[in-house]
């Protein structure tokens, strides 16, 4: 299992693309692997014949574990320079048989990755199917690897940060105008997201405390804005690719980048380094019609901006004569979840206020 990204420690084989006995060329994709960030192919390190598959589909192994053996002589396993072949000691075989444990799914902590007696017993004690009140009604399954990873990340974030959320209404008339007025070729996209992102980065320049990361005790304010943009993958979950040095991009460039990233994300073509290293994140679930949310901060950042639906509302504004009048205007509610360990409400409100002013005066 190669190290697919700096922080990756393990991966799951999703699908084998070749079988035992197949001839493989160097660089030919052998299998699809899922880390908690991306799904990617593993190219063959050499030409030869696939002699043995050591990791089954659905099995998770640590970085460094052998996935398969390629025989260079064309014969299965005969002259391969290998470590010990997969070995199950007598007690491991017996316990596995007695308890119905699939050894293919048991991680080995013995020497060389051998499955030890303790490993099997541990697998016995943590069965896949727990005594659930729903057992009789529906067949039990398992969340996808990515879903589980997202879940773990979210849970960790909520357990780590002192998460608070502040909301502010914002008049989007100018933003909408700018959007509609955009040339067809400018690829501004369907949502106001690139404009809001651009505006937010301008405000971050004046409110640097929100473009920061907090890892344990280590608090870092960043000069550049590496902007994470949440992309929904539908049932498969969500992913937050990062636009590096996003502060240097124009609205149009941002639009292009966001659309590109989203496309590649949905095709599972992201590289592992495109999903890390962000300093601030924007999420835009508003396309589905929700008004407010309580977004979870993308660790180890200290804030996340949430852009919800833009809806027409009847609001009270001052006319040119200073009188209160009711008008129909496109409105949205900007949400900011922020970490009370690094920030306080005033800062959050000031940021949102500054962002709102910018957006309400937007002139493209």
């Amino acid at each position: 299992m190669p190290q697919l990204g700096v922080s990756v420690v393990e991966g799951t084989v999703i699908r084998w693309l070749v079988g035992v006995g197949d001839d493989v060329a160097a660089d030919q994709p052998l299998c699809e692997v899922d880390t908690d960030k991306i799904v990617t192919d593993i190219p063959s390190p050499a030409a030869g014949t696939l002699a043995e598959l050591l990791v089954h589909e659905g099995e998770t192994v640590e970085v460094g574990a052998t996935l398969a053996r390629i025989s260079k002589t064309g014969r299965s396993g005969s002259h391969v320079d290998h470590e010990r072949p997969e070995f199950h000691s007598p007690v491991v075989q017996r316990l596995a048989a007695e308890h119905g444990v699939d050894l293919g799914g048991v991680p080995g902590t013995g020497r060389g990755g051998r499955i030890s007696k303790q490993d099997v017993l541990a697998a016995v004690e943590k069965p896949l199917h727990t005594e659930s009140p729903y057992r009789a009604e529906a067949p039990a399954g398992q969340l996808s690897r990515m879903r589980r990873a997202i879940g773990a990340h979210m849970k960790r974030s909520l357990e780590t940060a002192a998460t608070c959320t502040t909301w502010m209404e914002c008049d989007m008339a100018r933003v909408e105008q700018s959007r509609r007025g955009a040339k067809a070729s400018s690829l501004l996209g369907v949502t106001p997201l690139p404009i809001v992102a651009r505006a937010a980065m301008d405000v971050l320049g004046e409110h640097p405390a929100l473009n920061a990361t907090l890892e344990g005790e280590r608090y870092t304010r960043h000069e550049a804005v590496h902007l994470g943009v949440a992309v929904s993958l539908g049932e498969d979950g969500l992913i937050v690719p990062v636009i590096r040095d996003a502060h240097a991009l124009t609205v149009e460039e941002l639009g292009v980048a966001i659309r590109e990233l989203a496309k590649r994300a949905r095709k599972q073509q992201l590289s592992p380094d495109e999903v890390g290293g962000g300093t601030f994140t924007v999420t835009n679930p508003g396309q589905f019609g929700s008004l407010m949310a309580t977004p979870v901060i993308n660790q180890p950042q200290v804030a996340i901006l949430d852009l919800e639906a833009v809806v027409k509302r009847a609001i009270v504004i001052e006319d040119a004569d200073g009188n209160d009048v009711i008008e129909i205007r496109p409105q949205t509610i900007l949400g900011l979840s922020w970490d009370h360990r690094a920030l306080d409400g005033a800062q959050a409100a000031q940021f949102l206020g500054a962002l709102r002013r910018r957006l309400e005066r937007w002139d493209g």
Partner: protein, 323 residues
């Protein structure tokens, strides 16, 4: 409960049996007036007289043969070979006469042959042997090898009261180095194994002096907190197969330590039993630490190099634990 050395415990057992049973008598070289080469029978001739503590000629075959003769006419002789190594001179009488008599004639031969055994003090090739395997291999002879003072007394008592020829291995190195609480009065230790320390990760099987080496080698702090079970065999014939297999079933890993020369030592038999009867319990190969097949050398660095050291045992434990 009094505390005494391993040697004192042996003397205690002998003394009590001489007092309790007029059929018991002691014979060997220098056991009477001199009190024995290791002073086990010190003071005995004064208490029991020359007729019950007999200074024999230098004649191991006659010592053992005469013991057989006395045993079949109603006595309970306890022979001493001055060093275990010299039992070779009485081997024929022990194996061919004593060991085979009951099987052939239904005639019991209740005798004990005490063997001061083992190395570790520059005794050289003829004063350092552990010959127990020779007698495990001979039908009709029981073989005992205690490691503690309490067991030394209890097992010698059991040996003297047994109606069969019994070879009793008293490890010289333990004579004065091992002390313990020893119950007063007459008691017998069963001819079975004993769990000295309970554990879950590895079983180390040993007897005699090697029990102490194994204990030291496998202390939890020495092995990153690993839980090592130590099984003291105590009796080689009969061998406590049940205790051996129960321990291996629990830990799934077995290391056997022999001070005797490796080939066909007691540990080889234990290993074969484990491989045959506990195969499906094993999570690692059955390993042995033993003295290589060499006469025990005299010079300390040579002797230390061949006898199983605490370090060698510890390394073997570590290796198996990591398997």
């Amino acid at each position: 409960m009094p505390t005494m050395t391993y040697l004192e415990a042996i003397a205690d057992a002998l003394r009590e049996q001489l007092r309790a049973d007029p059929r018991v008598f002691v014979l060997g070289e220098d056991v009477g007036a001199f009190g024995g080469a290791f002073k086990v029978t010190d003071g005995f001739v004064e208490e029991f007289g020359e007729e019950r503590v007999i200074d024999t000629p230098l004649a191991e075959a006659a010592i053992v043969g005469a013991a057989v003769g006395a045993a079949v006419v109603g006595m309970r002789p306890v022979c001493e070979m001055q060093f275990a190594d010299f039992v070779a001179c009485g081997f024929d009488q022990l194996v061919n006469v004593a060991g085979k008599t009951h099987y052939r004639f239904g005639l019991a031969v209740p005798l004990v042959v005490r063997l001061p055994s083992g190395g570790g003090f520059s005794g050289g090739p003829f004063h350092s042997q552990n010959p127990e395997a020779w007698f495990m291999h001979a039908p009709g002879i029981k073989v005992l090898a205690p490691s503690t003072a309490e067991d030394a007394k209890g097992l010698l008592t059991a040996a003297i009261r047994d109606p069969n020829p019994v070879v009793f291995l008293e490890h010289k190195h333990l004579y004065r180095r091992v002390k313990g609480e020893v119950p007063e009065g007459i008691y017998e230790t069963p001819m079975s194994a004993r769990v000295v320390r309970e554990g879950t990760d590895l079983t180390v099987i040993a007897y005699g002096a090697m029990v102490h080496a194994a204990l030291e080698a496998s202390a939890p702090e020495a092995l990153d907190g690993a839980s090592v079970e130590i099984l003291d065999l105590r009796s080689l014939v009969p061998l406590d197969t049940q205790a051996i297999l129960a321990s291996v079933a629990k830990t799934s890993k077995a290391l056997i330590v022999d001070e005797a020369n490796e080939t066909c030592a007691a540990g080889a038999q234990v290993a074969a039993l484990i491989a045959e009867h506990a195969f499906e319990q094993l999570d690692g190969p059955v390993r042995r630490v033993a003295t290589p097949d060499v006469p025990i050398p005299f010079s300390p660095p040579l002797e230390q190099a061949v006898l199983p050291s605490v370090e060698r045992i510890r390394d073997a434990c570590r290796d198996l634990l990591d398997y």
